[in-house]
Amino acid sequence: MDLAALLLSTKLGGATVALLLPLALAAGRALAVRDFRGKGAVEALLALPLLLPPTVIGFYLLVAFGRGTAAGDAFEALVGTTLAFSFAGLLLASVLVNVPFAVQPIQRAFEAVPAELREAAACCGMGRWTTFLRVELPLAWPGIVSAVALVFAHTLGEFGVVLMVGGAIPGETRTASIAIYDRVQAFDDRGAAIMSATLLALSLAALAVVHGLAARRRGGRRR
């Protein structure tokens, strides 16, 4: 069992959630309640990582953030390392790949909050932030927890983009799924099996959370 790889995956998952959640809350809510020109295009763009092979995303990231490019130099100035073969690079790639997994459930959750409740909140004297915190967030939270679970589980299992951007540096960029691949390559079936079972259990737990919350939303809370 490669504990370092599992810890790294967990750290990557946690950091991805932490970075992505505020962005997804802002984007998901805006897409749910606002109408603006080009909304369809924005939605399509945010959903793109669902269809693109992760290796393609990884490739473009490497090209865009390569040494000598403006984005690459800015990244290095900000983080202190290059995008390739660094945890920071891995994190950026992970955030990008996970955008639709975070934004879509949150958008659906905010769409399910009737506009009239926002209006009723305004007529109760609540400003925009109070309405968000006291009315919208409590009603949308199952969708938000779903997004967190999906992003975390998806990050644990991400392989293609991790391999493209990070390689497999132990403790730095070798995540659990890369470690499993390495174990199999090294004919260590037992090691691969333990790691796989651990990831399977974590993914199942995440799915249970998502489905449990979805059922709760469908059925409503019973007294």
């Binding site: 009737p114 009239e116 409740l117 209006e119 009723a120 909140a121 305004a122 007529c123 109760c124 004297g125 609540m126 400003g127 925009r128 109070t130 309405t131 006291r134 009315v135 409590p138 009603l139 409503g220 007294r223």
Partner: protein, 368 residues
């Protein structure tokens, strides 16, 4: 003036050209068909709807005035708004819903005031229930308590009785009337139910395509519509074309010529003898002559004809009479069902009625 003054104009998306005022302690009903702009006007007062040119002022305070660049956001307008669907916060209890409208108060004071309001709307003991565990009528009461607890400067009601059954509605009417008696603020009620408006409002404004057609006490609007269009909107069934024959100054009446008959009518000095007019009379002001016994009232605008239809509607029967003088102009009147039976009012039967002179109201002719 401490009341509410509203003037809204816009061409699209919903054309509006309405102005009205509502004094403190007064209930104004905005009445009209679907799409008349009633709800848009209510939402414009609350700051929920964007109307291109809308001035809203209450008691010297301006909430919206495009000319002066004033447009307070909804949460800064002290309104109590009861939505048609109530829009209760589903994750909060009844108490939580009312407390939610008392953001500026310390928690204990807010809770005490919310409990007091729930008691006033007869929901004592149900404070901890969530909206889904309350009946429609109870939800409406929570919405009313939530709207009033924050001591609004105006109460806005958007078809608040549309979603409850008839029995509950009757109870809620009485409760609202009682609550209104204790409130010193203007109240604007949007409804398409004329009976509801007549029962609850001190004044009603008839709207069509966003424009105020008539504004006045319900009894006046319902009995003396300003135009044929208003008459149709207030469901006046007896509207006919005629001519003004003259005025009888001594009796204080006017004479209306209709289908060769001369009808004595309420004085209408705005029209001159010979003018084409439209006239109307409420169904309740046509009196059936008893078949078995003549009465004094029979001298008042008697009309004879054949019964075209007699439709029983519970305790009352609505009869359409085809007058001999004008068989195409059906006169509708309503009598208790037992009276209809006793007088043999079935299709084909003969009947005589009197059109009460004081209820005959002259209007400009249709399209005039």
């Amino acid at each position: 003036m401490e009341g509410l003054v509203v003037a809204c104009r816009q061409d699209a998306p919903i054309p509006l050209d309405a102005r009205f005022a509502c004094g403190p302690r007064e209930t104004l009903a905005l009445v009209g068909p679907s799409g008349a702009g009633k709800t848009t006007l209510l939402r414009a007062i609350a700051g929920l709807a964007r109307v291109a040119d809308c001035t809203v002022a209450i008691g010297g305070e301006t909430w919206s005035d495009p000319a002066r660049g004033i447009d307070l956001p909804a949460h800064r307008r002290a309104v109590g708004f009861v939505f048609q669907s109530y829009a209760l916060f589903p994750h909060m209890t009844a108490l939580g819903n009312v407390v939610a409208a008392l953001g500026g108060l310390p928690a204990r004071e807010a809770e005490a005031r919310a409990r007091e309001w729930l008691r006033r709307v007869n929901l004592e003991g149900l404070e901890d229930r969530h909206p889904r565990a309350l009946s429609g009528g109870q939800q409406q009461r929570v919405a009313m308590a939530r709207a009033l607890a924050r001591r609004p400067r105006v109460l806005l009601l958007d078809e608040p009785f549309a979603a409850v059954d008839k029995v509950t509605r009757r109870k809620l009417y009485a409760e609202l009337a009682e609550l209104r008696g204790a409130l010193e603020i203007p109240c604007v009620l949007v409804t398409h139910d004329l009976d509801e408006a007549a029962m609850l409002a001190d004044r009603m404004a008839i709207l069509r395509r966003g424009a105020t057609l008539q504004d006045g006490p319900p009894d006046e609007v319902l009995r003396r519509p300003a135009s044929v269009e208003v008459a149709r909107l207030v469901d006046m069934r007896n509207v006919f074309a005629g001519r003004l024959a003259g005025h009888d100054a001594a009796r204080g009446t006017s004479l209306v010529e209709w289908a060769g008959l001369r009808l004595e009518a309420r004085a209408c000095p705005r029209f001159a003898a010979g003018d084409r007019i439209a006239w109307c009379i409420p169904t309740s002001e046509i009196v059936l002559h008893r078949a078995d016994r003549a009465s004094r009232g029979e001298r008042e605008n008697p009309v004879e004809g054949g019964v075209a239809t007699a439709m029983r509607m519970g305790d009352a029967t609505v009869v359409a009479l085809a007058p001999d003088a004008a068989p195409g102009d059906l006169l509708h009147f309503s009598v208790p069902t037992h009276v209809a039976q006793r007088n043999g009012l079935v299709p084909g039967a003969r009947a005589r009625v009197s059109l009460l002179a004081d209820a005959i109201h002259a209007m400009p002719p249709a399209g005039g």
